[in-house]
Amino acid sequence: MTMQLVKGGEAGPAPRIGRRSHRPVRTLSHRLRPGRLTYLTLLAVMFFSAFPLYFSFVVASQDNSALGRIPPPLLPGANLVDNVRRVFDTVPFGAAMVNSVIVAGTITASVVLFSTLAGFAFAKLRFKGRTALLVVVVATMMVPTQLGIVPLYLLMNQFGWTDSLQAVIMPALVNAFGVFFMTQYLREALPTELLEAGRIDGAATHRLFWHVVLPIARPAAAVLGMLTFLTAWNDYFWPLIVLSSPDNYTVQVALSNLRSGYVTDFSLVLTGTLLATLPLLVVFVVLGKQIIGGIMQGAVKG
């Protein structure tokens, strides 16, 4: 489990995704007319947010001699295709991309399924110890699991899984944030009457899950899926430790390998960075609104 997901998880109001949120009329938003200074500050923040990414694109499209120029180049050059070719020649970057898609895809499917299952149980089913177990889930969001890295490695060694993708996938198959997030959402979005009606018709719990819960959970599942994919795609520490042959590298490990030579070839490394980040940026630009909604849902009551 990585920090990115943990960072979003808090006790708070139920998520309302894909539905109009029912706000009290007089809240803080839209309370003041912003002045010119506000816009200037925000535009400065936008500039600093975007510039490093823009600049990595500039470097990726130049050859290395251009990087020695004073002043440094601030406009894209014509070397991008060349640099991309060099990246694929230096490390098996194509294989790394495929590995990352497999890893992040599997983890996302698993996290979404298990979180929805557990979230359904915590939100709508009655059983002994429900509250206590939910408290345990919330508490585990704070556990720094990264510190268990040595025995985790020993465990994978026992299974004979070191240097394989399943070693990267297994520890991330579930996470507490997902369970919590889904519990909050289903509590609000899933009408209890609908479940009761299904019960009266004699539907077993698993049928209710497939035919009633899953369709209703879809919007939240999409947000959780995106956040999970992003986290899994960007994960670094554990894959770095457990993978040793270049053909098994994920994108992040391949990238760090490009960087770790004695002489850093920046146009090469930043081209790799661009290739690793671009798919996520595209997803973000298309679905950013929902991702922002998802993060804001996790917030604590004031």
Binding site: L42, V45, S49, P52, F122, L133, P151, L255, T277
Partner: protein, 307 residues
Amino acid sequence: MNSSTRSRLYRWDVKASPYLYIAPFFVLFAAFGLFPLGYTAWVSLHDWSLLSDEHTFAGLDNYQRLLGDPYFWNALRNTVSILVLGTVPQLLLALLMAHLLTMRLRGRTFFQMGMLLPNVASVVAVAVIFSQLFGRDFGVINWVLESLGAGRIDWQAGVASSHIAIAVMIIWKWTGYNALIYLAAMQAIPRDMYESATLDGASSIRQLRSITIPMIRPTVIFTVIVSTIYGLQVFAEPQLFAGGGYDTVTGGSSRQFQTLTLYLYEHGFNRGFQFGYASATAWVMFVIIVVIAVLNYLLVRRIRSSS
């Protein structure tokens, strides 16, 4: 099927299903999250290496060696320094940005998306990009400094300068994210509190300090604790900020920015797999994380709740 069997089946379904549904989470988390963390304590009491099947019991030897190692204390100092430099400005800036976003803005979604943009990049990408920006000879930041009439800085070489560079990476990646979390909490604050403050002539910043922050105290506590836990485990930024070769493991040529996780990595996965010693490091880190998180909690709790 007769009706009694059916009703028995039904009762069993209602009783057992919930446990079945939450089982995958608890089983997998116990196996790959909690068990390794607990087992770390056991490994830390042994002379344990991947290279031999003998695991001799060593008692507290590993801990003794660890606490006697000046490099460990150096890593602890670096980690705390980077934590403070990377977290305090980050959360203050996030509060300010969230505060600005509560106003009646044109293009609010655009600003929110722009703020979250850095969070999409992986830590590896962030570390690589900023290593280039902070380059000594050809980095943009030094070029700007020089144009302003200041001198060039060899960012990697110094203790303070390398800590600042790494802190900037953390700030850049996480500020917008935390701003969104604050913003969500701020939207629940009733508007009339601000109206009366405005009538009393309180400035916008004054309102942020005396109304907003006390009102969203639980969220502030949460972000402080999570950022602390995260900041004490920083690894990729210092590892990739170092040029290359063994410096990537020692955090610079004179260990000027080696963090605790980097120290753990050096002993556990770079020098003959000293798993016992690395596990002792992990446990000491765990204690440090708990202590600092609790201290921070007590500190932030002192924010006065608004009357």
